[in-house]
């Protein structure tokens, strides 16, 4: 019997299609990417990107020259503009505002490496610290409410032609809908239980074990109970924290380790599938926007990793209704067994 499972945070129902379940190895890779172009993200091609915003480079080396470790540049094709006013306005019954925001590319290494899981833990730690530095910097701009850090890996996951590992961030003047739903769901749970829903979830997952993929050094990687996609994986800090940017250096290194291991398991077990990940953290706490006081207690930052193995796209987008052809318990069991 297939199951309908409800996401406890935002209340979305998902069909776990146990009857038509595929074996983990039945998920073929999707569309091939068109051939690669010359890579502007490689060392020595600094003049092919817009001027850098941030870089890890030895003291004394010039901006936009070789010798760097990690580099952040504005998107070549930004869908938001950093300059200007929001100008919120109405148009009949519609609301709109100017597309103000930042859109940055985090080039995670100077080498032409495709998958972040092939970088060293040390390098991934630098990437995490860079996310934190950029979020903190963008928080100073009072126009922004949220910074969303995400990664598209592979053509089917929306990455471009270039196979050079990078992440993106978008600073926006509004809270994204999915994040807002999570915030509201977590607050409602906290109002009633006076406990963090994510902490409760972690506790139950660690007790049940069937959906746990990795449990190391203060972080846990789980296949969520109401997974939308086969092999969907969430990484959460075991210790309660609403804010990704408050991670200490030791936790950053630990996160780098579990992220690398999780993504390496996906790569090895599923033949380098396309995937996306998104970091969900607390919005900027602007006093005047009246954020509720319990947000530090009721929200819990985490990373959602979504492998792109199925092609049921427009339909899910349109309905908010997901059919997951692999129970998360089976996905977790499979990934636990992949040695990395």
């Amino acid at each position: 019997m297939p199951e309908l499972r409800k996401d406890p945070i935002i209340g979305r129902w998902v069909i776990i299609a146990t009857e038509r379940a595929k074996r983990p190895d039945q998920f073929a890779g999707t569309q091939d990417a068109p051939s690669e172009k010359a890579c502007p993200f490689c060392e020595g091609h600094e003049d092919q990107t817009p001027p850098e915003i941030y870089a890890l480079r030895p003291k004394g080396s010039t901006k936009n020259s070789p010798g760097w470790d990690l580099r952040v540049v504005p998107s070549i094709a930004p869908f938001l503009m950093i300059e200007g006013e929001q100008d919120r306005r109405g148009k009949g019954l519609y609301d709109l505002m100017n597309g103000i925001g930042a859109h940055e590319i985090i080039i995670e290494t100077d080498e032409h490496v495709d998958n972040i899981s092939d970088l060293s833990e040390e390098q991934i730690t630098k990437v995490i610290s860079c996310y934190i530095d950029r979020i903190n910097d963008l928080e100073k701009d009072k126009r922004f409410k949220y910074v969303l850090v995400f990664k598209n890996h592979g053509w089917a996951a929306g990455a471009g032609r270039l196979k050079h590992t990078r992440s993106q961030l978008i600073a926006i003047p509004i809270n994204p809908k999915r994040v807002k739903e999570e915030l509201v769901g977590a607050r409602n749970y906290y109002d009633y239980h006076e406990r963090c829903i994510f902490c409760d979830m972690i506790k139950q997952e660690l007790d049940t074990k069937s959906r746990v993929i990795l449990d190391i050094d203060g972080f846990v990687a789980v296949a969520p109970f109401a997974s939308r996609f086969p092999f969907e994986t969430w990484i959460l800090p075991k210790k309660h924290s609403s804010d990704f940017t408050k991670m200490d250096p030791n936790s950053r290194a630990m996160l780098a380790k579990i992220l690398k291991m999780t993504l390496a398991k996906l790569k090895k077990g599923l033949n380098d599938p396309p995937y996306n990940f998104v970091i969900h953290t607390t919005p900027f706490k602007r006093q005047k926007l009246g954020y509720w006081k319990s947000i530090d207690n009721d929200y819990h930052w985490h990373i959602e990793i979504m492998p792109r193995l199925t092609r049921v796209a427009g339909f899910e987008w349109g309905t908010g209704f997901y059919i997951c052809p692999l129970p998360p318990e089976n996905a977790a069991e499979f990934l636990r067994g992949v040695q990395v």
Partner: protein, 337 residues
């Protein structure tokens, strides 16, 4: 400067690139293709599907034999099962139920290689009539709260069968996006005592720039807050919450507008993969359908940008709907034959 636009119904914000809009030729989509081979939906292969639920067939022909025009069968690999009790229960903090529901396939035509736009007016009216009959039948099962009707056309739009078909899923709950849409419409209705969709039709009719085509009973337009490039909504001009309550005069008008928008889209995007979803009020009284207005959301599958949208609920549209509507209006008449 690009724009952030807010969906007045669900409250979702969308980024619309009005500065450097994509032209149709900028989209690299995976064309829909017929590879052929054995097809259980084809004429003569009736025994390869589970026994038919209903069909439009020539008088005197037996079920599960040739002689049909439209045929509805259970999905061979159903996401939900028709037998059993819901058995709502908790597992620790989690809630779940058994996957009770119906999952049917409506084969719209015996021809393997005919998209909707290749069918005659009468053939389209036939399968629209069949949609109504199936929904009316499923409503009788009081376990179900919603019937979702949708079409995936082309592999990249999620179709696992090439042969043109539509799917129906009857669910024991109202899906999230639908519930949000209903809630938004209901709140608007409570406050203004008007239907938000009727107001949208009024505003679109005045502004004209997003309208693609209209006839006596229907309006097809690119919504102000499109989530996907060249997204189109087909909306009945007459206020009506439920698809199945359509009047007999409206059916031919819907058939002709559906055919025309697919012809227009395909004239710009050959072999276009697409999805469409029927949005209609819930059944069996779970949620208030006051101020709801049925419509079809038609989504060409031109982009691959997915995970970001999934993770954030934030959409980026590279062709503003005003421009998309203009391209679609300007399709030459002889492409519509």
């Amino acid at each position: 400067m690009s724009e952030l636009r807010r969906d007045p119904i669900g409250g979702r914000w969308v980024i619309v690139d009005t500065d450097h809009p994509n032209k149709p030729e900028d989209y690299e989509y995976e064309p829909q293709a017929y590879k052929g081979g054995n097809c259980p939906f084809c004429y003569g292969n009736e025994t390869q599907t589970p026994p038919e639920i209903e069909a439009i067939r020539e008088p005197g022909t037996a079920p599960n034999t040739p002689g049909w025009q439209v045929r509805v069968v259970p999905n061979k690999f159903p996401a939900l099962q028709i037998e059993g009790d819901l058995d709502r229960h908790g597992v620790g903090m989690y809630d779940m139920t058994n996957g009770v529901g119906a999952h049917e396939v409506c084969v719209e035509t015996p021809y393997h290689e005919k998209d909707i736009c290749d069918l005659t007016q009468g053939e389209i009216e036939n399968f629209i009539g069949m949609y109504c009959r199936r929904i009316n039948d499923l409503i009788k099962d009081k376990r179900f709260k919603y019937v979702m009707l949708f079409k995936n056309f082309g592999a990249s739009a999620g179709a696992s069968m090439e042969h043109p078909h539509t799917q129906l899923i009857a669910l024991p709950m109202v899906p999230k996006n639908v519930a949000e849409e209903i809630k938004g419409a209901h709140e608007y209705f409570e406050y203004r005592e008007r239907c938000i969709f009727c107001d949208i039709i009024r505003q679109e009719t005045q502004e004209k720039e997003r309208i693609v085509v209209e006839n006596k009973y229907f309006l097809a337009f690119c919504p102000f807050v499109s989530r996907f490039p060249f997204e189109l909504w087909i909306m009945p001009k007459k206020h009506n919450g439920k698809f199945c309550h359509m009047s007999p005069e409206e059916v031919p008008a819907l058939a002709s507008i559906l055919k025309e928008i697919i012809l227009r889209l395909k004239s710009i995007f050959p072999h276009l993969p697409y999805n469409f979803i029927l949005h209609s009020a819930p059944i069996n009284g779970d949620a208030s359908g006051d101020g709801y207005h049925w419509h079809i959301e038609f989504m060409p599958k031109l982009t691959r940008v997915a995970g970001f949208e999934w993770g954030s609920g934030f959409y980026v549209v590279a062709t503003p709907p005003e421009l998309a509507a203009k391209y679609l209006r300007e399709v030459p008449q002889d492409a519509l034959k």
